[in-house]
């Protein structure tokens, strides 16, 4: 396509610069929203999947009717019975709860059965202080929550009305969720949450991964109160994650629809205003196809420019969210997600084409002589 066509398309956008600017800005905002939401869904799924897939966990077990891991209750005696299954090579358990700390409404408290393995698996890095010892009432605090609550090594704070807990170390992890949590030994957390002899989830590693299906069946048939799933299924099975994921998907689709309508409105107006010009182009020999191409180029320029700005702008916005809203920040990615960029590219393409093609098809279906008489 000739340089003149691009030039013409750019100048056309410039002639209604205010309208083009607002359309461009709307697309940018929509794509920014899409990028943030999709990043949230993808990031959280990716974080959980990475933990499970890379750390050789075959099966995850939680209470059958638990909607979230926090509401999952598995009793000790059930665990003992479960561990009698021959194929199980290793198991780890975790208790997850929420507690109000200071002004912060709700903080995740995690009790782990084997801190060493847990920290290795999740790439826990003690940035200050030491790891958990054998003393009671010791806690490790994630860097984000430490920053928010202004906690330092040796600080004491109350998690229960009667006992003080001592911060022995600050840690960071690539799993954002953990950076906003407090970690302690399983026994301590059971006491703290007043859930003695209970755990939330069990992670099983089998002697032979090929027997996963058999063990899954055995657990689900013989343990009426438990629900065992393949580890890869966990991200789809987690209630809140599922909600975040579906919500982000629904909003993503809505954003595309909204963007299409915003641009569609712009182009319907633009084409209507340029009826006479379309007539002139026909008169000098332009075909309908080339005239439609002009409108497509204009729409694609707007959608891609808006999309690029929105995508780039989403990162400082996510940074600010991470800095000031730690509750949400656990869902946000730490780095650029290329898959989102690919989605944004295709979204811009779809938005551009859909928004211009219908007004262009309609607008170029005119009686040339009548269009030239139009004032």
């Amino acid at each position: 396509m000739s340089k003149i066509v691009f030039l013409y398309a750019i100048r056309n956008l410039g002639r209604t610069r205010l309208r083009s600017f607002f359309t461009f800005f709307s697309v940018a905002l929509i794509i920014m929203l899409y990028t943030i939401l999709t990043s949230v869904g993808n990031s959280f799924t990716k974080q959980i999947s990475t933990v499970l897939n890379e750390q050789n966990i075959d099966i995850v077990v939680q209470a059958k009717y638990a909607v979230t891991p926090v509401s999952s209750i598995i009793k000790d005696k059930t665990v003992k019975k479960l561990l009698k299954i021959d194929e199980i090579d290793r198991y780890d358990s975790i208790l997850i709860g929420r507690k109000r700390i200071g002004t912060r409404k709700s903080t995740f408290i995690l009790g782990v059965s084997n801190f060493k393995i847990f920290s290795q698996r999740l790439g826990l890095n003690i940035v200050r202080g030491k790891t958990l010892g054998n003393n009671d009432n010791e806690v490790l605090v994630g860097v984000k929550i430490a920053q928010l609550l202004n906690l330092n090594i040796g600080d004491k704070f109350k998690l229960n009305s009667d006992k003080d807990y001592v911060v022995v170390g600050l840690y960071s992890s690539w799993l954002n969720l953990l950076n906003s949590s407090i970690l302690s030994n399983l026994i301590d957390v059971q006491k703290l949450l007043k859930r003695p002899n209970q755990i939330s989830m069990i992670f099983l590693t089998l002697k032979d991964s090929r027997k996963t299906a058999k063990v899954l069946n055995e657990i689900n048939v013989n343990f009426k109160n438990l629900r065992a799933i393949e580890s890869q299924q966990l991200p789809n099975d987690l209630g809140p994650l599922k909600s975040v994921f579906y919500f982000s998907r629904i909003v993503s689709i809505l954003t595309v629809v909204i963007a299409v309508f915003v641009l569609l409105n712009t182009f319907a107006m633009a084409i209507n205003e340029r009826t006479k010009e379309i007539g002139i182009l026909f008169a000098i020999g332009w075909s309908r196809k080339i005239i439609i191409q002009i409108f497509l180029v204009e729409a694609l320029m707007l959608s891609f420019a808006g999309g690029l700005l929105g995508f780039l702008f989403s990162f400082p916005v996510m940074y600010l969210i991470q800095k000031y809203f730690t509750n949400i920040s656990i869902y946000l990615p730490n780095s650029l997600d290329i898959s989102v960029l690919v989605n944004v590219f295709f979204m811009c393409l779809v938005i551009g084409i859909l928004s211009a093609i219908f007004p262009a098809l309609y607008g170029t279906k005119l009686e040339v002589a009548k269009a030239l008489r139009d004032e």
Partner: protein, 235 residues
């Protein structure tokens, strides 16, 4: 039919609003190569409709139009036909306001696949020079005078060296000085390239340069005067 005819119109009729307005009735006309035709008549007599029909911008109800002995019904792509064989000049320049004068001409030239981008630019510059507009090549429509706009529009119409140039009141919105200049350009074009021009007009200056004067009234051709009207003294 004359051997040198470029366009032959046979029994063409056209009506609007389901026959309520009869714009053209049984038009028979033959336009020869290398001649200037002045199409005259009162407003609303059907001059513009006839131009639009010959220019394939409007359809006919009945009759037929032959271009070089080939019926326009048999022309596959009317866009290509307009691109390679026809040029339009309107009363109001109809240049694209967001483009410069040079770009407006390139807009018509770029469709020609046989010339390169640089040739396209060269040709646009040459046309502007011919029209005495080379100093205005980078000016937008809003920055130039009415006469310059109309000459720019003529340059665009001549860009593809059309065999038939259709002009609807081309001097209707310019002063006498520019009228003379425009008509000189058109005369030169016909003389040098042996092309045909059909000009709908009320302007006696246009009639003065015309080889044939066609009079219309109420959608019908009432006379075709092939005698050169001696109006040269007007200039």
């Amino acid at each position: 039919m004359n051997k040198t005819s470029i366009i032959t119109i046979k029994g063409v009729s056209k009506s609007y609003d389901n026959g309520l307005i009869q714009a053209l009735t049984d038009i028979n006309l033959s336009l020869e190569k290398g001649k200037i035709y002045a199409l005259m008549g009162p407003s609303g007599c059907g001059k513009s409709t006839l131009l639009n029909i010959i220019g394939t911008l409007d359809t006919i109800d009945s009759g037929s139009i032959l271009y070089d002995n080939i019926s326009l019904d048999k022309v596959g792509s009317l866009d290509k036909f307009r691109k390679y064989f026809l040029g339009f000049i309107f009363q109001f320049h109809h240049l694209i306001s967001v483009l410069t004068l040079k770009e407006n001409i390139e807009l018509a030239l770029f469709l020609d696949k046989t010339i390169t981008l640089s040739q396209c630019e060269e040709k646009a510059l040459a046309l502007l020079k011919e029209m005495g507009l080379e100093h205005r090549m980078n000016s937008y429509v809003s920055e130039i005078s009415g006469g310059e706009r109309q000459r720019g529009a003529i340059a665009r119409a001549l860009a593809n060296s059309p065999a038939l140039l259709l002009a609807d009141e081309p001097t209707g919105s310019v002063d006498s000085k520019n009228t003379k200049r425009i008509l000189d350009i058109l005369k030169e074009y016909v003389k040098l390239k042996q092309r045909t021009i059909l000009i709908a007009t009320h302007d006696p200056y246009v009639v003065a340069i015309a080889d044939v004067c066609i009079m219309m009234e109420d959608g019908k051709i009432v006379s075709i005067n092939e005698e050169k009207i001696n109006n040269e003294r007007l200039f």
